[in-house]
């Protein structure tokens, strides 16, 4: 028995030296990093950190006054810059809590290699953080924009991104993990959604605006909103949510306003397959299948007839095809294979890929693409007929 106790105590001692208390830090000696931005400035690496620091008496709980502050440091490396923050800040930042990384356009256009090592190697940076790219402004400015009712702009960005995805379905969130894997995989190029500071009623607000497209280590251009919508329709994973507007006249851009119909997409899925022709040329055929509901109509014409519903389905399929093609054309223009067709070919035709890999961007740019879209209406929601205006 005594031997057992002795053994137990020795075990405990050994255990404590194994794990140790070395990383123990009291909660009130820390601050949360809600997000951080990476920038370059004349060869110096600049890191901006948004910090949430509750202050005041402890009774507050969730209603405690919280002040947000942005610290910026520059050094020869990002880790070095991050360390420098501790020189003039009294608390330990908890990096693992941050939710978004904001890259500056300058950094993206310069060279991604500058930051990919830092964000991949560091064990305090979570791979599920969302990535954003600022257009024109520095990450620091973006983080300083007030985003009521949300206290922290880096959190607000994440919530904006998630909200718009299920409601309007234009942009897709990109996590660090996803970005990283596309960055290192041959035959697929990464994208990052862009954020811009715009003036609205004299106040600076953040707005999601377009998608940055990369090729190799640099950003090469941006997709517009329409093209971004097309990009979302083209990914092989199933998408949920989103709205698309069609016009009964067939002209979505300039058709009469009174004939606009908004269709909801509840789920969509794209299936792309490479097809080799007898002459050796390659065609990528894309099949988009989508389901959805009639969401809003501005005419008083009864659209809920069999003929009209089929017409609406055709119009919506047409619109989907149009947006997808717009995106494909832009990507081909930028020579950036953001759809991952290259990696798809490498899986299905490995020997062919061996020949194509070296010159893939220009081959991608000249690829023939066929898009087929099929949209089916499931429901028309609460009313049976169109609203009639009675005089």
């Amino acid at each position: 028995m005594r031997r057992g106790i002795l053994l137990g105590m020795i075990m405990l001692l050994v255990l404590s030296s194994l794990g140790g208390c070395y990383n123990r830090v009291e909660l009130d000696e820390t601050v949360a990093v809600t997000g951080f931005g990476l920038d370059v400035d004349k060869g110096q690496k600049v890191i901006s950190v948004q910090i949430a620091s509750p202050s005041g008496k402890p009774e507050g709980g969730s209603n405690a006054e919280v002040e947000t502050m942005v610290l910026t440091e520059s050094a020869s490396g990002y880790a070095q810059a991050a360390r420098q923050i501790t020189l003039h800040f009294p608390r330990t930042p908890v990096w693992s809590l941050s939710t978004s990384i904001i890259l500056s356009e300058a950094l993206a256009r310069d060279d991604l290699r500058l930051m990919m090592d830092f964000v991949s190697r560091n064990r305090f940076i979570r791979p599920n953080m969302m990535m954003f790219l600022t257009l024109g402004t520095s990450p620091e400015e973006v983080m300083q924009v007030k985003t009521p009712p949300e206290e922290y702009s880096s959190l607000a960005l994440v919530k904006m991104m998630q909200g718009q995805e299920s409601q309007s379905g234009i942009y897709m969130p990109v996590s660090l993990r996803e970005f990283r894997s596309k960055y290192v995989t041959p035959g697929v190029e990464p994208v990052i959604p862009q954020v811009q500071i715009v003036e609205m009623d004299g106040e600076k607000v953040l707005q999601l605006q377009g998608v940055a497209v990369f090729l190799g280590h640099n950003m090469v251009g941006s997709l517009t909103e329409k093209e971004s919508y097309g990009l979302r329709l083209l990914v092989p994973e199933e998408n949920r949510g989103g709205l698309i507007t069609v016009n009964l006249s067939g002209d979505r851009e300039s058709g009469p306003l009174g004939e606009m119909v908004t269709m909801e997409i509840i789920r969509s899925r794209a299936r792309s397959t490479p097809r080799l022709n007898a002459d050796g040329s390659m065609v990528i055929s894309v099949d988009i299948e989508a389901d959805g509901n009639l969401y809003e109509q501005t005419t008083s014409e009864n659209l809920q007839t069999t003929a009209n519903l089929v017409r609406l389905e055709d119009l919506t399929s047409q619109a989907i095809k149009e947006d997808a093609l717009a995106c494909i054309h832009k990507a081909q223009l930028l020579k950036s294979d953001i759809f991952g067709w290259g990696s798809m070919i490498s899986r299905q035709h490995p020997d062919l890929w061996q020949r194509l890999e070296a010159d893939w961007p220009s081959f991608f740019a000249s690829l023939q693409v066929e898009v087929e879209a099929k949209y089916s209406i499931r429901r028309t929601y609460l009313i049976e007929e169109a609203m009639q205006i009675r005089n």
Binding site: L15, G19, C21, G61, V94, S96, T99
Partner: protein, 532 residues
């Protein structure tokens, strides 16, 4: 099977041979003497033994047609039923002018035999022939009649004393099911068992343990269910116990359990006869001790401590959910403070951001590290609980008010502790009350502090290590030879379900497996109802 190799702890023969020339020893020698034919001599010796016992009563009398037979009655006041004594012993002797026929010289005990056979209208009656037996019986509440010229005395059962009436157990309150509980008198308790299981297979073997207390101990088991080996093992472990007194059933636990120096509860206690009957029907053994309302059930396995008696009376779906809730409460009571401390001091990245901000705001200005804070509050809670237990009922509520005000409010207001910690400790406290068994709850309360220490020094690593050690310890333990974690480990598919769910009675046709158990079948499956 661990108990087969078990050696007796102590040799009883050695213990009962103390040094000579000891005044205590002299008295013992006197006790060992047989009764003599001379009543006066017997009374003299008994006088010596009963010296300074103010509650001992000796009543001398003479009976027979001419008062020719001298006799004496001995008893302890307060332990006997006086009415019975007067009506059924004194009245026949004194009023009947009884004359036991011819007494020949060679049949010395004929008067005694005749009295028992013909005169005394008592159910419990027998003869005795040593002074020791006289002492043993009168201290137990019997009355002894000594007759002059007889080498034997008569003992009649007149035991009756003031005792608590059968009541609802205070510690095991239930909403559903039988409400009666055990009392301090052994005979009432055995009667409650027999009343529920009307079978001669319900065996109640009695023995007496305790040099001074000579407490009656009864081992109850179902003859056709309980394994013989288990019964004989329990008996042999009880037989070797040498102790001066048994004041509660719990005295026996340390003597008969497999691991004497363990915090883990190894036997189950209950005050409820219905619960005991349930255990007996599953092949367990109950040990009842005179003077204690707590019955002990062996062998115990850990999952058993999370079952409440009500589980078997309520709707089985409700019982199953409650049982799962109880399992969750067990882990909350064991781990919640340590998990909180580990997360707050080591693993901040695990906290969602909004919760993090709330916690940081609440911890602003708290002077103690989270681990110390948890320790202070846990200690305060345990002290409050203990104080509430000891205080007279009239001022008991005052403690909870003071506790709630001081600990819950003032300490937070003063910035000594943080609100989340108070919530954590309070929730832990509530969870720890969920465990139906008190001794298992006690074990959780103590282990919680160990876990807190591990969490404070090693974070989650420590908690996992602690849980591993606990699991290894539990898995290696046994209770009367039955693995402590059975039927979870060793795994028994058909009975492991009874740990988490309460199966409906109509499909629960087998008893939980126990090595050597006879008669595994409870009942047949009910016949299928014909659809008409």
């Amino acid at each position: 099977m661990r108990y087969i190799n078990r050696k007796p702890v102590r040799d009883q023969n050695n213990a009962s041979q103390p040094a000579k020339n000891d005044p205590v020893q002299a008295k013992t020698d006197l006790r060992l003497e047989g009764l003599s034919e001379q009543l006066d001599e017997n009374l003299q010796k008994l006088q010596l033994l009963l010296e300074n016992c103010s509650d001992a009563v000796t009543r001398e009398l003479s009976f027979g047609s001419e008062g020719s037979n001298k006799a004496a009655i001995l008893y302890f006041d307060g332990l006997i039923d006086r009415v019975e004594l007067e009506e059924h012993l004194l009245r026949p002797l004194l009023h009947n002018n009884y004359e036991p026929g011819d007494i020949s010289a060679d049949k010395q005990n004929q008067i005694v035999t005749a009295l028992i056979r013909e005169l005394l209208p008592m159910g419990e009656i027998k003869t005795l022939d040593t002074l020791e037996a006289v002492c043993d019986h009168i201290t137990a509440g019997d009355t002894v009649l000594l007759v002059d010229g007889q080498k034997q005395g008569i003992v009649v059962g007149t035991r009756s004393w003031q005792s608590r009436s059968i009541d609802t157990p205070q510690n095991e309150s239930t909403i559903w099911g039988p409400k009666d509980g055990f009392v301090e008198t052994l005979r009432f308790n055995t009667a409650q068992l027999r009343r529920r299981l009307k079978s001669t297979d319900l065996k109640m073997e009695a023995m007496s343990i305790g040099r001074i207390s000579k407490s009656s101990v009864v081992i109850c088991y179902m003859k056709d269910i309980a394994p013989d080996k288990l019964v004989s093992e329990v008996k042999s472990r009880l037989e070797v116990i040498d102790i001066d007194a048994i004041l509660d059933t719990a005295y026996l636990e340390e003597y008969i359990s497999d691991e004497k120096y363990s915090i883990l509860a190894q036997v189950e206690y209950t005050e409820k006869p219905d619960r005991i009957c349930g255990h007996l029907l599953e092949g367990r053994i109950a040990i009842l001790v005179d003077g204690s309302p707590m019955a002990m059930v062996v062998p115990a396995s850990f999952p058993q401590f999370l079952n409440a008696g009500e589980d078997y009376y309520q709707n089985f779906i409700a019982s199953t959910l409650l049982r799962l809730g109880r399992l969750a409460a067990f882990f909350i009571a064991l781990l919640l403070p340590s998990v909180y401390v580990a997360v707050v001091s080591y693993h901040q990245e695990m906290i969602p951001l909004s919760l993090y901000l709330t916690l940081v705001a609440a911890r602003q200005g708290v002077p103690f590290p989270a681990a110390i804070e948890a320790l202070i509050l846990e200690l305060a809670f345990e002290l409050l609980r203990e104080a509430g237990l000891r205080l007279p009922r009239a001022i008991g509520p005052a403690v909870s008010i003071v506790g709630a005000l001081i600990i819950g409010d003032a300490a937070v207001q003063a910035g000594l502790v943080s609100t989340p910690m108070v919530v954590v400790v309070a929730f832990t406290g509530i969870a720890s009350f969920v465990t139906p068994s008190y001794n298992a709850g006690l074990m959780v309360r103590i282990l919680r502090f160990g876990m807190l220490f591990l969490a404070a020094t090693l974070g989650f690593f420590g908690i996992i290590m602690g849980l591993l050690l606990l699991a290894v310890r539990m898995a290696s333990m046994s209770s009367l030879g039955q693995p402590y974690l059975s039927p979870v480990a060793p795994f028994n598919l058909s009975h492991v379900s009874d740990v988490l769910v309460r199966r409906p009675w109509s499909v629960d046709t087998t008893r939980p497996y126990r090595e050597g158990m006879k008669n595994q079948t409870r009942q047949k499956l009910p016949p299928k109802r014909e659809e008409s």
